[in-house]
Amino acid sequence: MSGEPTPAPGRRASIEVRDLVVRYGSVLAVRGVGFTVAPGEHLTLLGPSGCGKTTTLRAIAGLEQPESGEIRIDGQPVFSSSPRVRVPAERRGLSMVFQSYAIWPHMTVFDNVAYGLRVRKRPEAEVAERVRGALGLVQMSDLAARRASRLSGGQQQRVALARAFVFSPAVLLFDEPLSNLDAKLRAEMRLEIKELQRTLGITSLYVTHDLEEALAISDRIVVMRDGMIEQTGTPTEIYDRPRNRFVADFVGSANLIEGRLRPDLAAEGLVAIETASGAIVHGVAHDRRPGARPCFSVRTVHVRLSRQRPPAQVNVWPAIVRRRVFQGDFTQYHADWEGRTLVVRGLAAEGIEEGSTAYVAVEPRHCVLLEE
């Protein structure tokens, strides 16, 4: 990723979305979504399929006509329901990487990448230089003359990337760009995209249903469900402090522990919940108000399992290990605890036998009170 000239950084633009509503026939795909992407920021829309994330992205791109709301790029409205503004996609100064790559099979790699520059009527010498630079950045310099229909999936994705940033767009949009690649290549490309984002510094909006991808490449994440936003925050915020059950469950794996609040046991900034079976669990509220059914989210990696009783004062209980599933990088245990199953992920090395009694412990700061 070095030794080639970096394309001139484009004007970094912000994206503002307000009260966006998109309707497909009788289905409301997006129901009043609003967020802001700062200039140069990398924001990801994360959610299960059908949550409206791609529709939101396409509405910003101009490929989908929203019903109401407002979209501003670099402060300028490109869509608005009142007053009525509709800027066509090709005049929004954006660029997009498609899930299907959308590489034109009747052109060479070079012509694919050069397209955006030729549309802008750049002199052919400049086109050649910038295409070379872009292909260098995605490590495709050798294949410039190859027909695009004769590339592997990963290669096509690289060409799609180069094509998207070569003309220095103000904003880069990514629509699940890695979902058609195999797992290993996906992990590799994820890093490359991140690297590219940092090199180019272009504002980017990324759509994915893949948690790891979102955590790895984003400055901030917007978690969506059913056309609405569930939570917005940095990857660590989203992971460490999920706002509700949906986010806790969708973003990583978590144990949800329900019970009734015990304000009398709360101390030192902690809150306490008593489970149905009578166990007292201490956790943190982060100034949140619990919902009707108070609930903690505990990441499976934050629960410790040990043979000896740990010295901590709170949140230590005996449990019986029922299942041990070796998963390579970690081992997943299913432990019987207070009449329910607790999922624990530990290092593969510290093996605890199935059927044995052990102690589960979790630091209160890792028990996060949910809002709903």
Binding site: A61, G62, L63, Q65, P88, A89, E90, R91, G93, L94, S95, M96, F98, Q99, S100, Y101, A102, I103, W104, P105, H106, Y115, G116, V119, R120, R147, S149, R150, L151, S152, G153, Q156, A160, R163, A164, F167, L173, N180
Partner: protein, 336 residues
């Protein structure tokens, strides 16, 4: 023509009979026509449902390559089916025509001196035939070229633009398919006799008629190709900043090219052998070959007619061979 002797009526021949008998039964024929519209509407409705239900894109941004299918032991039986079908449908009638055209008097077991090439000499010496053949080829070129542009644009409108009401356009465009050509030609005849533009009896009227009656054929052919092209290929051009004229020229058209060429060839062949609409719309200044052949069938000998028919077939074949060569060169991407 084929069904009538054995009293095998399809709706269109029945309609023709109703109109041509005395007294003509226009109301009943019209009712039959309307029933055809209903069937056509139902078909288009089903088609639209099916197409909307799934994705038929085979040309996507991902690598695609045509693959030969291995049919294993079925290879020879399948080949036999093809050969038999081709034999019955194509080779047999053509051979029969050839046989008839080189005889003085068509018989099943002729003597040697019965063979002659005089029929061809006669056919080619007739001015009417020569001009009809020429007009037909010109008309074929015109119909195919204008048709592909027109129908390509319409197909793009229906399947790619999201203008309101494009669904209704598709129904209207499929209309000519439901109207028997002859009935349609009657309509055009009356319309253009009244209309103050003097194109009646010229090739222009035939061109308009052909463009109309072949609209469904061309549209279906092009739409089939268009549905195979993934929408994101056009969208990505748009996201690169290309306005639609530029997109059409650099992405949509080149991808559609094989399909457009196929549609062109189909329209060309279809118009050169068009009969139903032509027979009413030809005039002294605008003669086309197929009605001329029919006239010859009624007014001259079977043998001369066979010669004419073969000349038409030959002309079309030569034209097609030329076009195929050009088309193959056009669809063969550089460097493959």
């Amino acid at each position: 023509m084929l069904g009538l002797p054995s009293r095998f009526y399809v709706v269109t021949t029945a309609m023709y009979q109703l109109v041509s008998q005395y007294p003509p039964q226009f109301p009943r024929a019209a009712a039959m026509g309307v029933s055809l519209f209903a069937v056509m509407f139902a078909m288009v409705w089903i088609y639209r449902r099916v197409v909307r239900a799934g994705s038929y894109a085979t040309i996507t941004g991902k690598a695609f390559r045509a693959r030969a299918m291995d049919v294993g032991g079925l290879r020879w039986p399948l080949l036999a089916v093809c050969v038999v079908y081709l034999g019955i449908a194509v080779v047999l009638p053509v051979l029969t025509l050839l046989y008839a055209s080189v005889q003085r008097l068509a018989t099943v077991f002729p003597r040697a001196d019965n063979f002659t090439l005089a029929n061809y000499a006669t056919a080619l010496s007739l001015d009417a035939v020569r001009s009809a053949l020429g007009d037909s080829l010109i008309l074929g070129l015109g119909t195919a070229t204008v048709g592909v542009l027109l129908m390509g644009f319409l197909a793009w409108m229906i399947y790619r633009s999201r203008l309101p009401g494009v669904g209704a356009i598709e129904y209207v465009l499929m209309f000519p398919q439901a109207v028997p050509r002859l009935v349609f030609a009657f309509g055009m005849l009356w319309a253009w006799l009244i209309f103050p533009i003097p194109i009646y009896g010229t090739l222009w009227l035939l061109l308009i008629a052909y463009l109309t009656v072949f609209l469904p054929l061309g549209l279906r052919t092009i739409a089939g190709v268009m549905l195979q092209i993934d929408r994101s290929l056009e969208e990505s051009a748009q996201m690169c900043g290309a306005p639609w004229g530029y997109r059409l020229r650099t992405v949509t058209m080149p991808l559609l090219r094989p399909g457009l060429i196929a549609a062109w060839l189909l329209l060309f062949i279809a118009s050169v052998r068009e009969l139903g609409a032509s027979i009413l719309l030809t005039g002294p200044k605008a003669k086309v070959i197929t009605p001329t052949i029919v006239e010859s069938w009624f007014s001259t000998s079977t043998e001369l007619t066979a010669a004419l028919a073969l000349l038409q077939t030959l002309a079309v074949s030569v034209a097609l061979a030329l076009l195929f060569t050009v088309a193959r060169r056009a669809t063969q991407p550089a460097g493959e």
